[in-house]
């Protein structure tokens, strides 16, 4: 019954006290995390969980856990990421349950594999929860300040890479702080510029000073990394009482909120206290204002090669003219007097923004609290990373979040968590780990980033996951929690125990469902069912019966309580398991093939141009440019041929015997690392993680 209680901690530390309690306690840490956004907080917490003495450096402790843009969490695809971060014992899911003021399960009618848990958040509560968690974590120190410079030295000779990070120097401090690994999560602050109307100013977020000039220099000039430039934006915030909500459609929350976290059974906000959202639409007047003000809009004019989707109202109107576009008016919190107009991100001058807003009937008399603005910032091309999120050319330096070209809180948190785990492991000389795209959306995210790179801000969609029906939001705990405890070490024993209990419960429930077999006539009598065809003569198991659309596990339990009532707790999950069981079984084969190829590591120092195998020059050049980490990643590269893959396969299977240095930059002996990992991949029954049951 351990997990049946609500694991939301009521204590909130007063900020003054917490800030006083932080401060440098030593001159050397295992891991230093730079940045206190969603990536940074998850990275710092994860590094501390795996046992590393961790230092989080942020500009303002007050803005730790700030939601810089929309006040919402989750959604389709993104909700899966939140669930996975939670399954690995991250903060985001529990913070969402603490701060949520409007919960809804998106896609409820489309099948459990693509359900999208989402919540509107109270900004203040979210910040409070994250700050309280971080400031009470053992082994984690938080300090305010900005990093002026990264200390870089000669690389460890028997590991790949041209440089090694050894610490950071903070502004206004004489002494450097040393460490084994650094996780950079600087978001939009890397050479960030803010755009509004015809004015631009340096910065990464309105209201915060620009920073990271020194880091930018280190990344480009010292480490020689390839960087690109991306853009994003945020809408104006509207004063709630100036909005005529009677002209918008009310969108009520779910009557029974579904928590994000596997260890919460309810949310802090009681169902009846949830706030609604409102839906309204743009008018031809909005389109007119956008067109008339284009000459006053630097951010849009610089749109040489924008993303394929439409991040701002300007791009929506230009690309899809003459249409009505949706605008969601979202609450900013229980006590906030503001509304967030989702869909109205804009960068024109403030007076024009107000004119545009007032073209929408519900906003005819609206007042703006803060105008919308655009941000352009540098990102480091993520193909320069290992799947551990460590840079290929710099030992000990990890990157996570928007700096890798992604967009969204959930994408940032997922990377942050994984970078934190590996940064902590590196400090402890443990082998670095990667997540496969066959077992998680986090794996899909990281694999897409490091093997394909980005051309527009990367956002998670369920269509990116080829094993979508296996990687469901309901089973992230079965997929990841055991691995997180047994392999990565980032999951608490408490949570691990709970995941095992659930796994056993589901196994037992499924076995019970398979054990009861009756003729269809008997089932009809027993359950008073009309949905089963009379002509069906063969015996049917309870599992077959549960597959019917209108049958719930509760119905079976009330018909045959002696068998099924012990599993009532898992009723909901058993129904989903049964629906997907046969499909997931079929996917396992393909997953097995991919996992097999991913378990075969390609040495990073491999000289593809002169490799003694018959590879075409074209293939050699592709391999040399991308330097895939595993055979699986090589297989997915455009331009690879089956023959080239076989030659590589042949080569890597021989590699350990040749004593090649195939290090991932983690342990002293690279050879052992590869062998250990290949050995582990062979011996673990990975299918049990991928789709348990």
């Amino acid at each position: 019954m351990l997990a049946r209680r609500l694991l939301i901690r009521p204590h909130i530390l007063p900020f003054s006290h917490s800030r006083a309690s932080s401060g440098l306690t030593r001159h050397k840490y295992d891991v230093i995390v730079v940045g206190g956004g969603h990536a940074g907080t998850e990275a710092a917490a994860a590094a501390a969980r795996v046992g590393a003495e961790t230092l989080l450096i942020t500009q303002k402790i007050q803005t730790i856990g700030a939601l810089s843009c929309n006040p919402s969490l989750g959604g389709v695809g993104k909700g899966q990421l939140v669930r996975e971060v939670d399954a690995l014992d991250g903060l985001m899911g529990r913070a969402g349950d603490w701060a949520g003021v409007h919960f809804s399960m998106l896609n409820h009618s489309k099948g459990p594999a693509v359900w999208g848990p989402r919540a509107q958040l109270d900004r203040r509560r979210y910040r409070e929860f994250i700050q309280s968690e971080l400031l009470s974590l053992p082994r984690l120190t938080v300090v305010e300040g900005s990093v002026e410079k990264m200390l870089v030295s000669e690389p460890h000779p028997d590991k790949p890479g041209k440089h090694r990070v050894t610490g950071v120097r903070m502004a206004g401090m004489d002494e450097a702080i040393l460490c084994s690994s650094v996780v950079l999560t600087t978001g939009t602050f890397l050479s960030g510029s803010l755009f509004m109307g015809q004015t631009t100013s340096p910065g990464g977020r309105m209201g915060d000073p620009p920073s990271c000039a020194g880091l930018s220099h280190t990344l480009r000039e010292v480490l020689g990394l390839t960087v690109g430039r991306l853009r994003t934006g945020t809408p104006p915030r509207i004063v709630k009482e100036t909005v005529d909500l009677s002209l918008a459609t009310v969108q009520p929350p779910d009557q029974r909120p579904t928590p994000f976290s596997y260890i919460n059974t309810r949310t802090r906000c009681p169902p009846e206290e949830q706030l609604p959202c409102y839906l309204t639409h743009t008018t031809p007047g909005v389109e007119r204002v956008v067109r008339e003000s284009l000459h006053l809009n630097c951010h849009i004019q610089e749109d040489a090669k924008g993303p394929r989707y439409c991040p701002s109202i300007e791009s929506r109107v230009m690309r899809f003219p003459g249409r009505r576009h949706q605008v969601w008016l979202e609450p900013e919190g229980l006590t906030s007097d503001l509304l967030y107009p989702q869909g109205l991100s804009m960068t024109m001058p403030p007076d024009v923004q107000l004119r545009l807003l007032r073209e929408i009937p519900a906003l005819r008399k609206a007042e703006m609290r803060t105008p919308g603005y655009g941000v352009q910032y540098d990102f480091v091309c993520p193909t320069q990373l290992f799947p551990s999120l460590q840079l290929k050319n710099t030992q000990g330096l990890f990157l996570a979040g928007q700096i890798n070209g992604t967009t969204g809180y959930e994408e940032a948190a997922a990377q942050g968590l994984w970078a934190g785990v590996n940064a902590g492991r590196l400090a402890a000389s443990l082998p670095l780990l990667s997540l496969s795209r066959t077992e998680s959306y986090i794996g899909v995210l990281i694999d897409d980033l490091v093997s394909r790179g980005v051309t527009e801000p990367y956002r998670m969609f369920t269509s990116r996951a080829e094993f979508r029906t296996s990687l469901r939001p309901d089973n992230a705990d079965l997929r990841l929690t055991p691995k997180g405890f047994e392999e990565a070490g980032c999951v608490s024993a408490e949570r691990y125990g709970e995941a095992l209990r659930v796994r056993e419960g589901l196994k037992g429930g499924l076995a019970a469902l398979q054990s009861v077999c009756m003729s269809s006539t008997r089932w009809r009598e027993r359950m008073a069912l009309t949905c089963i065809s009379e002509t069906k003569s063969a015996a049917m198991s309870a599992e077959d019966i549960l597959k019917y659309k209108d049958i719930s596990f509760e119905m079976l339990a009330s018909a045959i309580p002696e068998v099924f009532s012990p599993y009532l707790e898992f009723a909901h999950r058993l129904k989903i398991e049964v629906l997907y069981y046969s499909h997931c079984e079929r996917q396992k084969r393909e997953m097995g093939r991919i996992q097999e190829e991913e378990s075969l590591l390609l040495p990073q120092d491999l000289d593809y141009l002169s490799l003694p195998a018959s590879l075409s020059q074209e293939v050699r050049e592709i391999l040399d440019r991308v330097r895939p980490d595993t055979l699986g990643a090589a297989t997915r590269l455009p331009g690879m041929t089956p023959a080239a893959i076989v030659h590589l396969l042949n080569y890597v299977t021989k590699a350990p015997r040749r004593g090649r240095n195939a290090d991932r930059g983690s342990t002293d002996s690279a050879k052992t690392n590869v062998e250990q990992r290949n050995e582990r991949k062979r011996t673990t029954n990975q299918h049990s993680i991928a789709t348990v049951m």
Partner: protein
């Protein structure tokens, strides 16, 4: 036993070596049966063979063997040949009588359960049996090199033997590519590509509905349109599958193309080989403007010989099209005869090889893997000294393909050329992958069936679970993609963002 050449020869070499080799480190997690799917392929050559061998490997091999030999027959004892009637599992029509063999895993070539069917070598029988196997839902045609790759994964091949595996797979992939190009060049190709585009769009719209309809303006009507498009698609594919006329004439036989610069004597060579004036010959450059096709028998092997327009830069629109077709035909051919006017070769023998290399590259468009023979025509116009110079230049340069100096005018050197050509054709016919349109057709058929079956999953789950329904469309696109090329997640997103206004 002359049918046991090509793939079979390789296979038997592998087998004997496997017997010699000792325990090999396994790469797979779960041993042989983790490969899962059951595959089949023709593993003997075509042409003058009395017997064809079709091989099946995977967990459903026993099922396949039982389905094709009828339930009343006793199941064959392992590794012994039995005479059986081969029956189509659905129509129950008798396709042939032949020998069947059963090799239960792990003591088989791939380490999995394997079956072999030794049937009569006629194209109709072969395509009938391949089609019958493809109609079983648990079987699919093997990809290039898949049998050997499975054997490798099962630890049946020594790592040193794998050195050759990459080259083997390369050859097989190339052969399949050429074969597919031939099939896809005409109306059939257009048909498949049209299907693929429509299916891709349907999938994009389903994916858009799943990923974005809760936040963005995507009406439910989108799915109704997808329903209609998919039903239409299924009707068309099913209609195509049941069309006995098969749409296009199968071009069977080894495809040999004659190509080269204008006025090198390509049409003269064609007329010489088919011993009748099939093509118009004139001293005017650019006489042949379209592809001239003719069937000939060389050393008992069926050859489809095509004469093509001479390759040159031209402003004439008809000739431009002729040159395009010529280049396309060269890419699709199993063997190219590159004709060169020997009287126009450099006088200095030291420059001959370089000149030939250049012309060869021009004709083959840089496709180094294309099998070809060099035909140096118009030897009657050469002096004794020139002839000797050219021949010694050819002997010294090992990187040029085999070359024959001849004269279509005086017939000198023609006999030597014929025996070289006959040899090449014999080797090609021994390769089970070359010139087998029935094989390609069986493959297409199986993939189209897979596509139709997967789309049934869409219909089944459309109102129950859209994720499972979408899975059906994904699988259908993977099936069709095996014919027309893979469609990745990025292409789907391209369509989504083009067709719908998706915000941040």
């Amino acid at each position: 036993m002359n049918y046991v050449i090509g793939e079979m020869r390789r296979a038997s070499t592998f087998l004997t070596r496997t017997l010699r080799s000792r325990t090999i480190k396994r790469l797979t997690n779960g041993g042989p049966d983790s490969a899962g799917e059951t595959i089949f392929a023709l593993s003997s050559g075509q042409g003058k063979c009395g017997v064809a061998v079709i091989r099946v490997s995977g967990p459903a091999s026993a099922l396949a063997l039982r389905s094709l030999t009828g339930p009343r027959q006793s199941f064959p004892t392992p590794r012994k040949a039995f005479l059986r009637s081969i029956i189509h599992p659905h129509s129950e029509e008798m396709l042939d009588r032949g020998l069947v063999l059963w090799f239960p895993g792990p003591r088989s070539f791939t380490g999995e359960d394997c079956a072999e069917l030794h049937i009569h070598g006629g194209p109709a029988v072969i395509s009938g049996v391949l089609e019958a196997l493809g109609s079983l839902s648990s079987l699919r045609p093997a990809e290039a090199g898949e049998f050997t790759r499975r054997a490798f994964h099962a630890g049946k091949l020594d790592l040193t033997e794998v050195e050759g595996l990459g080259d083997l797979i390369h050859a097989e992939t190339e052969a399949q590519r050429r074969q597919a190009l031939r099939q896809m060049a005409g109306d059939l190709g257009r048909l498949y590509h049209d299907w693929s585009q429509r299916l891709t769009r349907c999938l994009a719209h389903v994916e858009a509905f799943i990923d974005f309809s809760e936040d963005e303006l995507i009406e439910d009507g989108v799915l109704n349109q997808v329903d209609e498009s998919l039903s239409q698609l299924v009707r068309e594919i099913e209609g195509h599958l049941s069309d006995e006329r098969k749409g296009e004439r199968l071009r069977s036989g080894v495809q040999v193309v004659i190509a080269g610069a204008t006025n090198a004597g390509k049409s003269s060579l064609l007329n010489l080989l088919c011993q009748r004036p099939a093509a118009i010959v004139s001293p005017v450059a650019g006489t042949t403007r379209d592809v001239v096709e003719t069937c000939v028998d060389i050393g008992g092997f069926p050859i489809l010989l095509s004469d093509t327009a001479g390759l040159r830069d031209t402003q004439d629109t008809v000739e431009i099209e002729g040159v395009r077709r010529a280049r396309e035909r060269v890419q699709q051919a199993d063997l190219a005869l590159v004709v060169v006017d020997s009287s126009k070769l450099p006088r200095d023998p030291r420059h001959v090889a370089a000149s030939l290399g250049g012309q060869l590259g021009e004709v083959l468009s840089g496709q180094a893997s294309q099998r070809c023979l060099l035909v140096l025509n118009k030897s009657d116009l050469l002096s004794e000294e020139q002839s000797r110079g050219i021949q010694s230049a050819l002997r010294e340069r090992g990187d040029l393909p085999q070359a024959c100096l001849l004269s279509c005018h005086t017939d000198s050197g023609v006999n030597g050329f014929l025996s070289v050509l006959k040899n090449s054709v014999q080797i090609l016919c021994g390769d089970p992958l070359v010139g087998g349109p029935s094989l390609t057709q069986a493959r297409h058929r199986a993939h189209l069936l897979e596509c139709v079956r997967s789309l049934a999953q869409y219909r089944q789950y459309r109102d129950l679970d859209l994720a499972l329904a979408a899975e059906g469309v994904r699988l259908a696109l993977i099936g069709l993609g095996r014919i027309t090329g893979r469609v990745g997640a990025e292409e789907i997103l391209d369509i989504i963002f083009r067709d719908f206004c998706i915000g941040k």
